[in-house]
Structures are given as structure tokens and as C-alpha cells.
Point group: C2
């Protein structure tokens, strides 16, 4: 048991939580709590002191109120698929798990919106409206398991965000439980409300400002026609240059993804798509959607641009079965990395699209310098890189080296005018890199917002923002000014 | 001179401001200050105590610091074309006018972004990049005169926002002067940054959180083909139903505008487009853009839908000259209203698109009830209504009646599940209607944000939020709870 678990008298609290969420809604034993000790970022672990699974907004509010009254930190968690440790428990915390908040509360096709509880799985939203010809656009790779609440917290992206935008562009409104347990309604069912855009600030705030308990999502009409092009190149730089040229030509594909040689072979070993050529330096997948005539015309234009950039071959898939085959490998890329190496680490950074070719060269140089292979699979259209660093944790010092290599890649992204996170969030993992990207004044301004909504820092403490305690020493030395410690700011 | 002008010792302050902005940058005489006593909402007037025209971020910061140190309220103003009194001076305020901050600081075509000072006129942005085939999408009717800073403050829309979104969707980052005079950089040059979306909360905050001094805007590639369809109907409800059907068919036009019979005739009296039939109950303008094949196919589909809804005639314009002729009347609609009546008042409200036909009927009934003609010109695709209420201010009680009628229209919008403002903002004009739309808890949550960034309420005081002082009595009685007074909240 942790220090705080010992000092906090949990027995009467457990009774209170059980009164709210029922006996089945409170997980007490250390063994069962261990299930929740990490999210998709496996390298950080901490067992929560208690796990509570509410079913309604009112239950969340009641749980938060108890935490607030007893100064107990709390962390919200959906499916736990996040890759930045955003749902990592804090020492001594109550973990509020939304798995039982899994109801689709309203489907309003006429006004193109769906109201869901936060534990609803991303893919369920599309399933609920697909028959009627609609879909929910943001599609993280984990969409068959990740929750809408988690998507809101991390402002998740996905393959189709190039054309359709990330989560924040699809959230019309939310019912939120604030950190004192009060309930507010943000946004509405029509877009662009007057007053401050609080919906916008809560989306992507990684659980540090409150917990969304009802979310109004916008759904889109399915495109009449969808076509996928697969182009193969002798090197990844040519694929990168093609992406920039396609956008420059005025075509906006639904998605544009690049996989390099290492990823292609990893995927073919495991999935056997039979359409990714193993000797290609890189493949580029371009999905085009819209009216049939438009898709036809753009796909010809895209194929021409691919060939002008040296593509050896460009194949097209119009029917769903062939399209699925082409995407299958891309979607299995992270999983296939596990087949190449005992361990791997997924990085997430953004660069301006025009810098793709040069950045990929520099990542290759860094990979050689550190002696770790890096497989590149990424949302090329957005400039959103996902380098997979391969390593073996049984080798002494390997994890430290991988962290250093990952850090250098992030710094490279910032140097190129990009960002340290495209869609995975900052969480526990990248907070120490925030000063690479933001000035002291910028971070302080964000802290003002955190402080007003989360004054006691009970909601997901220690996430997103660097503190001298967490970042001032150890592996990451980032020269954090002492004033940036949340506790000292106010 | 106003009370505060008397009590505040302005002489030494004027010296300080002149030191910052130069003698030409400080306007002292009452006659010259009178020029700035209102914005486009002519019915509210207040002469500022001093007008200062800075040229740089540093000058704005220095001016704000003096205001902060001396507890002087300050209001930022661009071109003063706003329609909700957002730039209306507050009693005893320093008006910070951005007219001299009119430089386009950077044009980066490769990465599709432009950095501008806030006094840059909206249309200048497109002019700067047009030759290279790009444009800036948000296009308020006032685009040849309104400033980007004002667009940011009010989150301005325009005809093309149906497809391309409002201002907030096109702002990548901003340099801001906060209310204590400190300078921060929000957002960046790549979209979707980690951390809190402060850019999103500052856009549309109507000058209550600080002053934007450098703005990074996203520019778009011009569409290959643009076509405008003009359909005429015997009644406005049929035009409204057509709009809903076009969207339901999966077509997203660049813009869809409706004008009713009264507006058509007003416009034809003044502009003589010769393409708006005077006997039509309503006309619908639909602009389609994209690749040539796509525009051709969608325009056939749209024309069919118009005819299915009873359109008497559908004409199309592909060349720029005919397109401009079709749009000319729509763009002159507000001005033409001045020819119909000694005075007019433009309302701005939003309803779900599917409620168009019914809402228009109810507005007609309200118009009869109050005995004031209402001309309807609106962004139909967004459900953003702009009823023009015609009146003669020389008639006793007319203004009060018009305010009451405008208020009933807003309440109708809220009842329909819409909003009290689509693109003109709340400003001084609509603050008393905020409780129609937001609960006490929602408004308090916004006040928390205001308070943290603007703790002394010196930045644009009295705007956006209702207070018992301004809304508790008089013409608008809205039953504002006493706790909602900003001064009492903290």
C-alpha cells in the first residue's frame, strides 16, 4: 500500500462511494486495482488507491465532490488506450473509470448530431448511424476500443483528420462535472455559440479541468464514392515530396499515410496484405472521397503527381474489399512492430508538411547515431509523424537511450516549426518537453486556466505541465524555471 | 466631460501615452474623440476619455500597463464596423484603436499562412495572396472595411462560412497583450497544438481577455471552378425547405443565402441587378466550388432539388461577371434597407437549419403583431438569420417596440434550439439575453475565465455578460440573479 493509502482513512470513504456507484461500482482489492495501473504508455505505472465506476453525470459529480471535500486526487479514465500516460493514476488517487457510462443517449439524424456518454466506444458512434448513411469522422487507430471521453481528453486524431479535422472540430457541446463537483453545460447543439468557447478549451485538456459526462458530437454524411490509391517509391523522401505536391495542387484527400520499408516488411510478415511491395523504400496511401466524378478526376491527378515524383507503380481500389486490404496493413502497423523487436516506443510529433523529406532524413541519422532502428508510419498529409523506435528492454540502458532518441526527434519537430504532439497528448510522458515549445509566459497563461478550474490540482495532477519536481532533474533536464511549479504560481 | 474624465488627472497620463505612441497617436480633443463614440450599432454612444493609436505590440503593452496601473478601463477598436457594440467605449475609458497596426508582417505561401497586425483590413489578406492562387476564407459583408482584429474579437462569419467555417477555424496563433500588459504567444504556425486551446478561447472573447497584436491566419487555395445558382420561389418557406434538402442530399455548397420579397425589392430599387425577380416570394443563391466536374455534377443536383421544391426558375452563372452580378444585390442588402425605411435594425440569430421554414412563418407573425416590417436576408445554410426590422425613430416608442420585437426573435431562436448570435457577437447589445441561452452555472464558468484574465474588469468592461446593473431593470427585464454581477462573483 502507498503512503497516502495508509494515511487516508479509506474505509468510510469506500462506504460513501459504494452508496453512489453501488458495490459493483467500487473496486477495492489491490489485485483488481492493479488492472488500472497504466494506460497504453506502458512504461509508467502506479496503482490507484481506489477505482470507482459511475453510471451517470450525477454519480460522477457526487464522487468528485467527495474527492474535493477530502482533498483526494482523482483521475478520469476511459478505455485506457492513451499513449501519453494521460490516464496514468496519480499516487493516492481515486480512478474514475467511465466504462459503465456506455449509453448513446440520443441520435438526431435530421440535425446531424449524437449525444453520448463518455464511455461509448468511438466506433459505436458510426455503427449507430451508419445504416442511415452517416458516420463520425475522427478515427484513431484504436477506434474499436478507445472511448469518446478519452478522445475528448486527448483531442484525438486519426487517418481521416487531414480533411475532416480532429476531435475538437466535431464536438458541439458537453455536460461537464467541474472539479468541485458542480455540473455545467458547455456549447450546445448548434455550432459557434456566443460567449467564451469553453468547449474548445475543455477538449484536449487531458482531464485537468473536469470530466465530460455527456457529449454532443457532430456526424457527417458518408461520401458517395471512396477510392484508395497505393503508390510505391524507392525512397521515403520521394513519398514525402509527393504529399506536399498533392496538397499544393489543391487536392485535399480524406487521408494520406506513408509507411517506410521497415514498416512495410514488418506488416507483411504479420498481416500479409500482398499489396505492399517489400522492396519499396516507402508506400503512400491516398484516400479520396466525394462525388464519383470528383473522385475520378482527383485520383487521376494524384496518380500523375505520384508518377512525376518517381512512383514505380500506382494502383487504385474502388471497391470496399480491396480498399480494406490496402488499409489493413497500415492499421496493423503498430501491432506489427511488436513482431520486429521485443519492445517498441511510439513517438508522436508534427512538422510542417513541406519539411517532411528533410525531417525523415534527419530521423534516419538520429536512428544511426543511437543504434536503434526507427520505423516510420505516419499521417503524412498533416505532417504528423509516428516514428516507432525499436529496442530490447533487457539490454542495459536501452530504455534511457530510446527516451533520449525520442526526445531528440521531438526537439527536431519543434526546430522545424512543428509540435511535440499531434494527437497522443502530453500526459505524463511529454510534460518535460513543454518548455521546448512554449515560453514561460505561455505556460503561465495555461496555468492560470488550470488554476481557475482546478485550484487544488486534484484533477489529474502532475499531467501536461512541467514542474521542477518532475522535470528539473533526472533523465530529462530541461532547465524548468522554479516559478513554473504549479504549487508556487498561486 | 464625463465624471471620470474630471476625477482622473489626464494631463500626466496623456504625456505618458504620447511618449509611447507619439503625439499623432493620441487624440485628446472632445471633437476628435467624438468620432469614436460608437461602432456599427449606432443606438449606443459614449465618448471615450482618450483615444490612443499604437503601432506595435510593445506600444499596446505599454498602454495597457498604464491603464492597469491607474485602474483605467480600456476598449480595443479596429474599424468600428461591429454590429453588437463590442467596440463601444465605456465611460471614462482609453480607446485603443488599431488603425495604424496595418502591416502584413509575413506571407508564407508554402505553409499557407499569413501573419498580420490587427488593423489589417479583412479583404487585404486575400489581396496579398490572390495572385498566387490563395484566399482568406471568412468574408463578412463588411470585408472591405472591417479589420482582422475586430474579426478575431467577434469571431466573424460571412457568406462562405457554411463550407469553410468562421474566423476561429482560420486562426492558427496570436501574439496577445494580456490585461496586465504582459505579452504571450498563443497557438503556433501548425494547427492543433498541445496544451489548452487558448487561441480558441481568445477568438470571440470580444476584447474582454486582452488584445491580439499579431495574428497568424490560415489561407486556402482558390477553388478551380466556382458557380452560382439563383433559384426563385413563390414563398420563403419553400426556399428554406430547399436549403435543408440540399444539405440532406450530401451537397455542401460554399454558401447558401436567402432573400425574401421585401429584400429583393429593396435591393432592386437601389442596385438594379436585373436578375432578382421582383415578384418572387424569395430567392435562393447557392454557390458551389471545387473541381470543374464536381461543380457541374453538384449544380445539376442542386437545380433538381430547387425544382422539386417548386422553384419557378433556376439560372446559373459560371463566369465571374455574372456571378458578381448575382451576389451584388445580396451584398448591398443591408445598405438597401436604408432606402426602404428611415431606420432599420439588423438582428442576428441562429436556428437549426431544419427549422427554417417554421421560424420564418413565426417571424412574419411577430412582424404583424408589432406592426413593423421585417426583411429577411440570411445565411440560410448555417441557419443564421439576419432579420432587418424597419422603423422610423421619429415615431414615439418605435425604438422600444423594435427592441422588443428583436428580443422576441432572439427568444424564438433559442426556443428552436439555436443561438442569440451567429456572427455579430454579444457586445453591449445582447448581454441581457445571455440568460435566455445559458444557465447561471454556465455564465459563472465563463466569468471564472474572464476573472482570471481580466481580474479588474478593465478590458472592455460591461460587455458580453449580463449584470443586475445593466439588465436587472429598464427595457429588458430578464430576472438576472444578483450573484451574476461580475463584481459580486469574486
Amino acid at each position: 500500500m502507498l503512503t497516502q493509502e495508509k494515511t487516508q482513512n479509506w474505509k468510510p470513504l469506500i462506504k460513501q462511494f459504494e452508496k453512489i456507484a453501488g458495490k459493483q461500482g467500487v473496486i477495492v482489492t489491490p489485485e483488481e486495482r492493479s488492472v488500472y495501473e497504466c494506460d497504453g504508455l506502458l512504461s509508467y505505472r502506479e496503482r490507484p488507491s481506489l477505482v470507482v465506476l459511475p453510471r451517470t453525470t450525477e454519480e460522477v459529480a457526487a464522487i468528485v465532490r467527495i474527492c474535493d471535500q477530502n482533498d483526494i486526487p482523482f483521475v478520469a479514465r476511459g478505455s485506457g488506450t492513451g499513449l501519453s500516460g494521460g490516464a496514468l493514476p496519480t499516487e493516492g488517487c481515486v480512478l474514475i473509470v467511465t466504462t459503465r457510462m456506455n449509453q448513446i443517449l440520443e441520435v438526431d439524424l435530421e440535425n446531424r448530431r449524437v449525444v453520448v456518454q463518455p464511455g461509448v466506444i468511438n466506433a459505436w458512434v458510426t455503427q449507430a448511424v451508419s445504416q442511415a448513411g452517416f458516420y463520425y469522422a475522427p478515427d484513431p487507430s484504436s477506434q474499436i476500443i478507445c472511448s469518446i471521453g478519452g478522445n475528448i481528453a486527448e483531442n484525438s486524431g486519426g487517418v481521416h483528420c487531414l480533411k475532416y479535422g480532429v476531435t475538437t472540430n466535431h464536438v458541439l457541446g458537453m455536460k461537464m462535472v467541474l472539479t468541485d463537483g458542480s455540473i455545467v453545460d458547455l456549447g450546445s447543439k448548434v455550432p459557434e455559440m456566443p460567449g467564451y468557447d469553453l468547449t474548445g478549451i475543455f477538449v484536449g485538456s487531458e482531464g485537468t479541468l473536469g470530466i465530460a459526462t455527456e457529449i454532443t458530437l457532430q456526424i457527417l454524411k458518408k461520401a458517395e464514392t471512396v477510392k484508395v490509391l497505393l503508390a510505391d517509391f524507392t525512397n521515403v523522401e520521394a513519398a514525402g515530396a509527393t504529399v506536399a505536391d498533392i496538397i499544393a495542387a489543391g487536392v485535399i484527400p480524406a487521408g494520406m499515410e506513408i509507411m517506410d520499408n521497415l514498416s512495410i516488411n514488418a506488416v507483411e510478415d504479420v498481416v500479409k496484405t500482398d499489396c505492399y511491395p517489400r522492396d519499396a523504400g516507402a508506400i503512400l496511401l491516398v484516400e479520396l472521397d466525394g462525388m464519383a466524378v470528383e473522385v475520378e478526376a482527383s485520383s487521376q491527378r494524384v496518380a500523375d503527381i505520384c508518377r512525376q515524383n518517381g512512383a514505380r507503380n500506382v494502383s487504385a481500389a474502388g471497391d470496399a474489399a480491396t480498399r480494406d486490404k490496402m488499409w489493413k496493413g497500415r492499421k496493423a502497423a503498430f501491432a506489427a512492430a511488436g513482431n520486429m523487436s521485443p519492445n517498441y516506443f511510439v513517438q508522436d510529433g508534427v512538422i510542417p508538411r513541406t519539411q517532411l523529406a528533410d525531417t525523415l532524413k534527419q530521423i534516419e541519422a538520429l536512428s544511426k547515431k543511437y543504434g536503434h532502428r526507427v520505423a516510420n508510419v505516419f499521417h503524412a498529409g498533416d505532417g504528423n509523424l509516428h516514428p516507432l523506435i525499436l529496442y530490447d528492454e533487457s539490454e542495459p540502458g536501452a530504455l534511457q537511450q530510446v527516451e533520449a532518441l525520442g526526445g531528440e526527434i521531438l526537439k527536431l519537430c519543434v526546430q522545424k516549426g512543428g509540435s511535440i504532439s499531434g494527437e497522443h497528448g502530453i500526459g505524463a510522458d511529454k510534460r518535460c518537453y513543454m518548455p521546448e515549445m512554449f515560453s514561460k509566459a505561455d505556460l503561465e497563461t495555461m496555468q492560470w486556466v488550470r488554476h481557475v478550474f482546478n485550484p487544488k490540482e486534484l484533477a489529474n495532477p502532475g499531467k501536461v505541465f512541467p514542474t521542477p519536481r518532475t522535470c528539473g532533474e533526472g533523465a530529462h533536464t530541461h532547465n524548468i524555471p522554479a516559478e513554473l511549479d504549479g504549487a508556487m504560481l498561486f
